[in-house]
Each structure stands twice: as C-alpha cells, then as structure tokens.
C-alpha cells in the first residue's frame, strides 16, 4: 500500500469553497491549541471574539471600519494575483492614494456638507496616486522583467517614509501649522467639512454606520468580477496568468496587460487610501505607529488568498477578518496577549495556502495486491 500525491485533472468547484472553510476551521483549531498552551479557554475566547466582532451593540460599525480598507487591499491583491502578478505593494499604494486624495480634499474642500464633486475628485486622485505608485514596479516588470514582488514590496517602505516625512519632517501642504496643538505634536491638516465622506445608518443592532468606502468597495468588487469573468480583458488576463506562452501565441499583448493590471490593482488600493482619509481619519496620519503599523496592505493579501481571488468572496472574507481585527482590540488586555490575533491570522494564511495544494492535488491511497509469485513482487499501480 502506498500513498501518492498527484495532480488533479479537474478541480471540482465544491473544493473551492470547502478548502478555504476547512483551512479556517483548521486554523482556529491550531490557534485553540496555542490558546490552551498560554492558559486561555479557547471556547470562551472564540465566543468573546464572535460577540465583540458582530453581536455587541456598535460592533458592526467598528467591524466595517476595520473591514473597509481590508476589502480594498484584498481586491487590489486579487486583481493582480489572479494574473499571477504578485503585487505586494498594496500597502504603499494605499499610502499614496491617501496622500493624493487628501491633497484633493484639502485643496477643493470648503465649508458645508459633503460635496459630491469634492468626493469624486478625492476618489479619482486616490486612484491616480495608487496607480502611479503601482506602475513603477509595473513598468520594471513589463520592460525589464524585474521581479515585481521585490520592487513593490520595497516601495512600501519608501511610501511609508514619504508619509512620515510629510507630517513629521517637513512643513508640507498636508501638515497642520496653525494652532497650539500643532506646535506640540506634528499632525496632519483636518479635511474641510465638504470633503468628509458621507455615511448611512442602518437601523439594526442599535444603528450600524455604513461608510461610503464600504459601498465603493462593493462596487469595485462588482466591477472587478465583471471585468475578469465577462470581458475579453479579463479572459486574456487569466490566460496570461495560467501560461504566458499560451497567451503570447494567442496574441495577448503581455506588456500592456502587465501595465494595465498593475494600474488597476494600484488604483483599487489607492482608493482604499482615499477612503481612509475621507471616511475615517479626515487627515493624513503620518505617525509611524499609526496607519503604518496596521498593515492593511499585507492583510489584504491574506484575504485575497483565502478568497481564492474571487472579488465577492474577498468582500465577505474582508468583513470576517475585519471582525477579527476589531475583536482583537477588544479582547486584548492583561490576560490576553495583543499578538494573539496576529497569530491567528497568520495561521489562517498558512492553512489557506496549504489548502491550495489540496485543490490542485489529491492524495490517493493505492492498495496493492500481494502477488503469490516469488521473486520481486512489484506493486501494481
């Protein structure tokens, strides 16, 4: 009897759902072991997690605040990864989108209620900022075959330094220079009232606030799905992802595709950055311990992997991971280490990626019959 590990010929659809779900279950099981080892009761911890993320009054609002940027970076990652273009730079593209979007909001905004014109300008400039930053690794990959993982990742650090520089090391347009508080600690300028993005309240669970960014993320998911599932652009991108050679023979213009997909991915991440400024922070957060420590871009990759690059699944997973992040802030305290939520997320990523293997391969246990013949009993296959 032997165990073989062979590639599947067909990839059944139900596996695409079962494996992510199964890997999350497995991750929670493993994390439960970690919890037990550190002296916590896994069941009550998970119950508290669930409560804090979704059931308590006001928790859905906070979960949406966490989930919105994650949805954007998840979609950005999914858009690129679908074509095997590993854009790790969503983090930096988000910062750039925030910077560009904030500039538009500060420049065009004024008094009065949220202006559709100003907000539209912020959306556009946010996308532009993210696109420009993503095109740097895009151009390097398209024309010089430079590894986009390295270039996009390293540009994240550059973007972080630019963000900190604008607020902490210069008297830039984004920095608040008037007022007593501004002289005590560097802080970004507040957006004028007409540049603040609107939100809507759903009257369940004591009132859930849905920010504009969340709506835009869902729209972006729809657009992305239509693009990849129903247009020629998406078809060519998928073919290119599966086999560059086949794509070339089919006449796909590889360079243009790379640039276009990187631009798209960067635009979505940049929009996430603009949403951070317009929906939540209302100014640029240049503090190295603020936005830069939250790692939205990197968590987006986990989400995209778990959602298997399906845009709608990305939105759902982003919501769940957002709940996990929100609950993590609630649970951490003297008894519950702050890093545990990060550990759980990491285990989920590993399990999801490991589960990937199960989708493409299968384990077969081959029973071999013992031959009555004497010499060299060969196992039949």
């Amino acid at each position: 009897m032997r165990i073989t590990f062979e590639r599947r010929l067909r990839q059944p659809r139900w596996l695409s759902v079962a494996v992510p779900v199964g890997s999350v279950v497995f991750a929670f099981f493993l994390a439960g072991l970690v919890l037990l080892a550190t002296g916590h009761n896994p069941l009550s911890t998970y119950r508290q997690l669930f409560d804090a993320a979704f059931l308590q009054t006001g928790s859905l609002t906070q979960t949406l605040i966490s989930a919105t940027p994650l949805a954007f970076t998840g979609l950005a990652a999914a858009a690129a990864f679908r074509m095997k273009l590993f854009n790790i730079g969503a983090e930096g593209q988000l910062y750039m989108g925030a910077i560009f979007g904030a500039a538009a909001g500060l420049y065009l905004g004024g008094t009065g209620s949220s202006s559709p014109f100003v907000i539209a300008a912020m959306v556009v400039t946010g996308c532009v900022g993210g696109t420009l930053w993503a095109l740097i690794p895009g151009v390097l990959k398209a024309f010089f075959k430079t590894n986009e993982i390295l270039t996009s990742l390293l540009l994240n650090y550059v973007a972080a330094l630019v963000l900190t520089y604008l607020i902490f090391q210069s008297q830039s347009y984004w920095r608040e220079t008037k007022g007593f508080n501004a002289s005590v600690f560097p802080v970004g300028k507040q957006l004028p009232p007409s540049a603040v993005w609107p939100s809507w309240t759903i009257h369940i669970q004591g009132g859930v606030t849905v920010p504009l960014g969340a709506v835009l993320a869902v729209l972006a998911a729809v657009v992305l799905w239509v693009l990849y599932a129903r247009t020629r652009f998406g078809f060519e991108a998928r073919v290119l992802g599966d086999s560059e050679r086949a794509a070339r023979y089919a006449g796909v213009r590889v360079r243009r595709k790379i640039l276009a997909v990187m631009a798209l991915s960067g635009a979505i991440a940049g929009l996430g950055g603009a949403s951070q400024v317009g929906d939540f922070a209302h100014s640029i957060d240049g503090d190295p311990n603020g936005l830069q420590k939250l790692g939205y871009g990197y968590t987006g990759i986990v989400i995209a992997a778990l959602a298997r690059y399906n845009p709608f699944a990305v939105v759902v997973v982003a919501f769940l991971i957002g709940g996990l992040e929100n609950a993590g802030n609630t649970l951490q305290g003297v008894d519950f280490p702050a890093g545990l939520v990060g550990v759980i997320q990491g285990i989920i990523l590993f399990s999801a990626l490991g589960g990937e293997v199960l989708i493409r391969h299968r384990v077969r246990i081959v029973r071999t019959k013992k031959r009555a013949a004497a010499a060299g009993a060969e196992p039949a296959s």
Binding site: A18, L43, Q48, G333
Partner: protein
C-alpha cells in the same frame, strides 16, 4: 470514491458547525461585574517595554494594589492613536468602563471625549481640555536635568550622545534640560542628537547609539522608550543614562541613572475622585514635590561627589531656589533667547514656553527640525 469524498465534505462542514455551535453555547458569557469601578489604561507600546508604557503599567498596578477589589483595571497595549484607539474606546464603552487613561499624545481628542460623555478621560502629555477630559504630565525636564548632571560628570571628553524620538517641544525641552545638566557638572560639554522618529523602536535606537559612539560620544543618554541604547552602551562599555523607568538590569555596569515617572499616585488620586463623584477636569503638571517625577537609583559609575551635587540641586529645585530654565539661555547660534532672571513658563510664552520650545540650547549639536 464518491462516498469517501462526500464523507470528507460532511466532516469538514460538521467540524465548522461544531466549532461555532460549541463556542456560542458553551463559551460562556463575558464576566459582568456590577460593583468594581471599571478603569482602562491604554498604552501606545508593549506593557513591558522597559520604558514609558511600563511606567504607566506600574502606575496601574499601584492603583490596583491600593484599591483592591473596588476597582477593576484592564490594560490595552500597542494601540496607536487614531482608528485603532477609537475602536478600543468603543469596545471599552460597551463593556461598561467608566474611566480611561490614554498614555500617548493624540489618543484622546475633544471629539472622542464628546462622543462618550459618560466616560471620564485622562490624557497624558496632551493639551485639550473639556468637561470629561483632563490632561496630566509633569516636570520631567527637572529630573532629566539631574540625570544630565550624572552624564556630564561621567564624561571624560565632554562629548555626550542623546537618542531622541520626534522633534517636538516635549523632546526638545528634555534634550535642552539634559544638556544644561551636563554642562553644569562638565562645563563646555556638548550633546549630539540623533532622531529615531519613533517612541519605541529598539532597532533604530541601537543604531542611533552606535552612530553616536562612533562619532566620539563617551556617554549615552536617551529620551526614547526602550533600553536598546543601554544594551549597546553596556557592550561598548560606555556609561548610559536611561529614561522613564529604572532599566539598570539591562546594563548593570553602564547604568548611571534615569529620570523616572511615578504615575501611580496621580492615577490613584483621580480614580478615587471619580469613584467619589468629585472628579473635575484640569491640567495637572506634576513635579518632584508631589512625587510625580524622580531619579532612579544610581549605578556603579556615579561618584559620591556627583550624588551629593545632584541631591543638592534636587533640593534646590524642590524648594524653588533653582530652576534650570531660568535665563540667561542662549540657543545654538549663540543668540540670547531668554533674558537673565526670566523663568520659562509651561504654557505661556510661545517659543519660550515649555510646551512651545522649538529651539535647542548652546552646546546641543543637531537640528531642532529632525
């Protein structure tokens, strides 16, 4: 084959459902304690950073010890000001917490305080005040000055290195106080600054310490939160002045002393007032006199003469006969900034106030802009 596959699916689904079911029904509800007064402490770094956050955590433990079961304290660490902080406050509010201590600038804004009018907020190092928001900090410049005296006395060449975080008035005045203290025990001493742009970053702080020693400093000091510079100082056999708390265990031979914060008594006073209903907002600026600031115990490298001199000046500061920020004070270019006999105030005086200071005194090498 088909059967084993569907069995697998069934198992996975059953597993998922079982997990959700058991945790929801048997997980138990969160503890609901009616009587203890719930207070939360929110730290910007880890509670065991050997520096700023650890000192606040020690304050919390002091209050917990003094009030016992009457108060229920929780601590959140690594919470950045902004969205993460707001989320934490939202969840604390829904869990019934009545008082929140924020320990980093920018955590509790007027807007946050206004959103939760039933919670009492205490913000360290800040300036905003409102009906349910109070500010607290203290004269660390006095004790940093005293620690600078130890640094100056321990230096042979007069070249001292100082690792600093952000070019903001708080850090600038501490750097200036340190330099003034060093120049008292070592006339002509210079203090070179290296900015890390972070309150807590052991890697950057170690690199800063390396570059300072490499450029000729023979004593190290810091205004940042981790003991990394001290650990490097120990390995380089260079004397070291710490900050925030007693970190001598990280560098037993190099340790000189440190300006320390004793947050406990203030926190106790405020929690008691909140519980009794007599809490009122205000701007508290503690000092040596009420035990808010202090000097950590000395290391082996501090001579008896230096200890005596520091003790003398500490008494003088306490009884008001000496104040390190009394004119004449000159800036790096030699220009007279504070006239003879004039004492710098905390909030009033613009660039000549403690909270507005944006210039470095003579003898400090480095830019006040970062």
């Amino acid at each position: 084959m088909k059967r084993s596959r569907s069995v697998l699916v069934l198992l996975v689904t059953a597993g998922a459902l079982a997990l959700v079911f058991t945790s929801v029904t048997f997980g138990g509800t969160s503890k609901k304690a009616a009587s203890p007064y719930k207070v939360a402490l929110i730290l910007v770094g880890p509670h065991n950073d050997g520096g700023w956050s650890q000192a606040h955590y020690a304050g919390m433990q002091y209050v917990q010890k003094m009030l016992g079961s009457k108060v229920q304290f929780t601590m959140k660490e690594n919470i950045a000001p902004g969205a993460q902080f707001n989320q934490t406050v939202a969840s604390l509010s829904s869990q019934g917490y009545k008082m929140i201590f924020g320990t980093s600038y920018g955590m509790i804004t007027k807007a946050v305080a206004a959103k939760y009018p039933n919670i009492l907020f205490e913000q360290a190092t800040g300036t905003d005040l409102s009906k349910n928001l109070a500010e607290y900090f203290g004269r660390a410049e006095d004790t940093v000055f005293l620690s600078g005296m130890a640094a100056g006395a321990a230096s042979k060449t007069g070249k001292i290195g100082y690792v600093v975080a952000f070019p903001i008035p708080e850090v600038i005045r501490h750097a200036n106080a340190f330099a003034l203290g060093a120049q008292l025990t070592h006339p002509g001493a210079t203090v070179s600054l290296v900015w890390t742009n972070s309150w807590f970053d052991p890697t950057k702080e170690k690199k800063a310490a390396q570059s300072l020693v490499g450029a000729g400093a023979d004593v190290l000091g810091q205004n940042v939160d981790s003991p990394a510079a001290g650990q490097y100082a120990e390995s380089a056999k260079v004397p070291w002045v710490g900050y925030d708390s007693d970190s001598s265990k990280f560098a037993p031979k190099s340790w000189l002393t440190a300006a320390t914060y004793n947050w406990g008594p203030y926190m106790l006073k405020r929690v008691k007032a909140a519980m009794a209903g007599t809490w009122k907002s205000g701007f508290y600026y503690g000092s040596l006199n009420d035990g808010f600031t202090g000097i950590a115990k000395y290391g082996p490298g501090v001579s008896a003469a230096t200890k005596a001199k520091i003790a003398t000046y500490m008494k003088k500061i306490e009884n008001g006969s000496f104040y390190e920020f009394t004119g004449p004070l000159y800036d790096q270019t030699g220009k007279l900034r504070v006239k003879a006999g004039v004492k710098m105030q905390v909030l009033t005086g613009g660039a000549n106030s403690l909270y507005g200071m944006n210039w470095l005194v003579k003898g400090v090498i480095g830019s006040a802009k970062g």
